[in-house]
């Protein structure tokens, strides 16, 4: 007997098999990438190893006779308000292995969700609501740095723009797809995102893993990312999209870089990322050419030079305590848009402590950045993109009313293609074929299915956003931007309302 492994004693989930339904087709054995279902050839029976189940619900969903139910394991520790099973089991894991706790997705701790404490307005009597089915309703949004005003000249009795505007990106819906690298997610998901972005008139983001050759054709709907690892970064890549995003930080793990485990680095990934097969892809915590704001300016303009000033440069930061001042510096450094990624932003792999405890909620960050940029007279000349924790179209509306120009969604798009939030993306075994590069697993999610689901989701959100705008008496999304009048707080403190610049419900 070796050292006991405490962490294996207490499974999180319980696999219940309804024997009267089970036809022993062994589908579950095939579906479970964690080998929690076992076929006992001798006894001709199916067995379960509850300790291996991570709760992805794949077997349950795929079982042809619906014979499987996945539930929280009924075995319980003695109740303790402080020492909940989560902490106990984490300690077992670390005591067993001596490692950093790893996880995926976004912050799982119930830190106050401000979206859920904000309610929206609607018109009654004094002001007619607008019906989007009968009247035009506009969601079009332009992203990029803009001059403060325009100049007009008269030519042959007609007014004309004297000086053309700088390059800007047109979004038909202010919802974009957040950076998720090829490597972290499968090529099929990337293909689905790219196609959906094109058909929706929005953008998707390559993430830091380079751009697969098959995706260059979606260039005008692509944001390419330049992160600290500089994987797959070459001049054709930089020129492939309409914008380049410098990733300084990520809401799920502010202050650290990325880690794509070698197991996920397959042939295709190695080509795209320009690294050897099977090698860990580690992006450092800082960009080693950015140790200060002036260095950032250097990189912004280096990228602009490399792309002949045709591409916009976004800078993405994690929402941290000082986010407002940093964002203002970024705008002054010449970025065309600031991307703020909140505490609840997702990830393919992050240390649990970072995912759960570092950074601030996006709602507060948007408001703080918007306010700072207004105070400095800069807000109208730049764009704010909010990311991290957007779960529904009302969250989008609230984010815009708090001051964002557009939002990124990541997790929501993955859930749309089947992700069940098992939070194990870092293992590379995603049973839903999303966060994996295993050639067999990725077949579980064909690109057409990914496209259809993602398209449907955002299309539906578009409808809902239009309905909400109409109810508020607005027929264009720009009249919502920063419009705190449309928000009221329920159950927030004075300080919180001050930061969000909203009144409490019931206040007139």
């Amino acid at each position: 007997m070796g050292t006991p492994q405490f962490s294996t004693f207490y499974p999180d989930f319980y696999i219940e098999r309804l024997e009267n339904r089970c036809i022993k087709c062994k589908r579950c054995v095939k579906e479970c990438t964690y080998e929690a279902h076992l076929w006992d050839e001798k006894k001709k029976i199916l067995k379960e190893d509850h300790t291996k189940c991570i709760g992805c619900h794949r077997c349950e969903a795929m079982c042809p006779t619906k014979a499987i139910i996945i539930k929280p394991h009924p075995s319980q520790f003695r109740e303790h308000a402080n020492w909940t099973p989560w902490f106990i089991k984490n300690i077992y894991k670390q005591a067993d292995q001596g490692g950093v706790l790893l996880t995926s997705t976004g912050c799982a701790v119930p830190i106050k969700n401000y979206f859920d404490h904000l309610v929206l307005d609607a018109c009654q009597v004094t002001n007619p609501p607008i019906d989007p089915l009968r009247e035009p309703m506009e969601l079009r949004t332009y992203i990029g740095s803009k001059p403060s005003g325009i100049e007009v000249e008269e030519v042959n009795g007609k007014f004309r723009l004297k000086k053309p505007l700088p390059p800007l990106i047109k979004l038909e819906i202010p919802v974009m797809f957040a950076a998720m690298s090829f490597g972290a997610i499968s090529l099929h998901v990337h293909q689905g995102l790219a196609r959906a972005a094109r058909d929706l008139g929005t953008l998707y983001n390559t993430g830091e893993g380079g751009l697969h050759a098959s995706l260059y054709e979606y260039g005008s709907n692509t944001i390419v990312q330049c992160a600290s690892g500089r994987f797959g970064l070459h001049v054709d890549y930089l020129n492939a999209g309409v914008a380049i995003e410098i990733k300084i930080g990520q809401g799920a793990k502010p202050g650290i870089g990325g880690h794509l485990p070698g197991e996920k680095v397959t042939e295709e990934i190695s080509k795209t990322r320009m690294i050897p097969v099977g090698s860990d892809a580690l992006s450092p915590a800082p960009h080693h050419d950015i140790y200060s704001i002036e260095d950032l300016r250097g990189l912004i303009f280096a990228l602009k030079e490399a792309t002949e000033y045709k591409k916009l440069v976004f800078v993405k930061i994690a929402a941290v305590h000082n986010v407002a001042a940093i964002a203002s510096g970024i705008v002054r450094a010449g970025a065309d848009a600031v991307v703020i990624d909140g505490l609840k932003g997702g990830t393919g792999a992050a240390p649990t402590m970072f995912r759960d405890y570092i950074g601030i909620p996006i709602e507060l960050a948007i408001s703080a950045v918007d306010k700072r940029l207004r105070e400095e007279g800069l807000r109208h000349m730049t764009s704010i993109i909010a990311s991290g924790g957007i779960r529904c179209s009302a969250d989008v509306v609230k984010a815009i009313a708090l001051g964002a120009d557009a939002v990124y969604i990541g997790t929501a798009a993955l859930i749309a293609v089947g992700c069940s939030m098992c939070q194990r993306c870092y293992t590379g075994k995603c049973p839903w074929g999303i966060a994996t590069n295993n050639p067999e697993l990725i077949k579980r999610l064909p690109p057409e299915v990914a496209y259809e689901k993602i398209y449907n989701l955002v299309h539906a959100w578009g409808h809902e956003i239009k309905e909400m705008l109409g109810a508020m008496g607005l027929n264009s999304i720009e009249s919502l931007r920063g419009n705190r009048d449309k928000l009221r707080a329920v159950g927030l403190t004075k300080e919180e309302m001050e930061i969000l610049e909203v009144k409490h419900a019931g206040e007139v």
Binding site: N127, Y142, S145, P166
Partner: protein, 398 residues
């Protein structure tokens, strides 16, 4: 104490009316009274007002501050400030009458001033600088002096307004004694009742005056946008926002009036996408001035030293009618309000959604006449210079 820092934006329905004589002939105040009183059903006695242009002949070169004050102490503070910051040419109480239904009206005084620039012994003759100076002065009085409020600050024009029905306010201010080449009038139906005299229309900044029927749903966005340019929206009314947007777009950004109206009530993207020549300009207007767009139902009349403009929201959710008779042009919420003072107009029409009716005086009709039909260079934005980016054309490839 006046409840002027209302906690929320006021909501109201209204009646409006305006007249302009293109050759600058003066029209008696009785005319506008008759027109606005004919729309009495559109108000509820909680606010009415008038703006008149050309009423101070001989004083055309002075900014006339109509100051409303809660008490004489507030007036003293105003006068102290004016003594420091302006050359004060003349001052007098605004003549009023006792009206039975008007109880405890505020004090009204008018001051004819010119800006006194710091360190300068003589006045500078830069119109934009002078205007900006007066804007700042007005903001200072309105935000810093408790109990005092500037209700108009243009040259050779003035605003008279208060809480009451239009006929009462007209009687109180002896409107029939004034003669003007442009008149606008307003009758208000607020759904919340601040009952504050300063909350009545018209609203002004310099010689811009606005009367407005509607509710601006984009108020929150517009207000924040204006703050970027130093405007403080202290009154929490839609109309104040409209006044400042016009000032910003036309006076400071130098946009031609028509272009500014396009920013306020722009066409829809689906219309713009179909345009050929105008597409680039309209796209730029919508992108750059998106936060200045007035979203929600409105009909407004705005006037300045030289013109009168009527404008509807982009889907025409509030009424606006215009008519012409010789050199006179009329605009009002209802045709009846026009016919009451002009029974047989040459032409009557209902302006389309977002299509402005712009009427200017003939050139050189009055001193200090302003015309905004053409564009002027834009005032420099310091921040813009600081955040320098290299711009290349958006439509270069097309």
């Amino acid at each position: 104490m006046w409840n002027r820092t209302l906690i929320s934006k006021e909501i109201s329905g209204c009646g409006i009316s305006g007249i302009i004589h293109k050759k600058g002939k003066l029209i008696s105040g009785e005319v506008i009274i008759k027109s606005i009183c004919c729309q009495e059903e559109r108000g509820n006695g909680l606010g009415a007002g008038f703006a008149a242009y050309g009423i101070y002949p001989g004083m055309e070169n002075f900014y006339t501050l109509h100051v409303m004050a809660e008490n004489s102490y507030a007036l003293e503070l105003v006068e102290e400030l004016l003594a420091h910051q302006t050359f004060l040419n003349y001052q007098e109480p605004i003549p009023t009458r006792k009206v039975k239904t008007i109880k405890n009206p505020p004090l009204f005084k008018r001051y004819f001033v010119r800006p006194k620039f710091e360190g300068e012994l003589t006045e500078i003759c830069d119109e934009l600088a002078e205007d900006n100076y007066i804007v700042k002065l007005v903001m200072e009085i309105n935000t810093k002096i408790e109990g005092a409020y500037v209700i108009s600050s243009g040259k050779n024009m003035g605003v008279f307004k208060g809480v009451g029905f239009p006929d009462e306010i007209a009687e109180f201010f002896r409107i029939e004694e004034y003669k003007a080449f442009i008149w606008t009038g307003h009758n208000r139906f607020p759904t919340n009742t601040p009952g504050w005299w300063g909350g009545a229309h018209p609203f002004t900044i310099l010689d811009w005056s606005i009367v407005h029927n509607g509710e601006i749903s984009s108020y929150g966005t517009n207000k924040r946008y204006l703050e970027l340019f130093g405007y403080k929206c202290t009154l929490l009314t839609d109309t104040e926002v409209v006044a400042y947007i016009l000032d910003l777009l036309i006076r400071r950004h130098g946009l031609p009036l028509k272009v500014a109206c396009l920013a306020l009530a722009p066409p829809f993207w689906m219309e713009i996408d179909e345009m050929s020549e105008e597409r680039e300009l309209l796209t730029a207007i919508r992108i750059i001035y998106g936060s200045a767009m007035l979203n929600g139902p409105f009909a407004i009349l705005f006037a300045y030293n030289g013109g009168l403009v009527g404008l509807n929201d982009r889907v025409k959710l509030r009424p606006l009618v215009a008519a012409e008779k010789g050199d006179l042009v009329y605009m009002a919420s209802e045709e009846a309000a026009i016919r009451a003072i002009c029974p047989d107009p040459d032409k009557v029409w209902a302006p389309k959604a977002g299509e402005p009716v712009i009427v200017e005086l003939e050139p050189n009709t009055i001193p200090n006449q302003r015309s905004y039909l053409k564009g002027r260079p834009r005032e420099e934005d310091e921040n813009e210079l600081r955040v320098k980016c290299a711009y290349t054309p958006l439509f270069a490839s097309k």
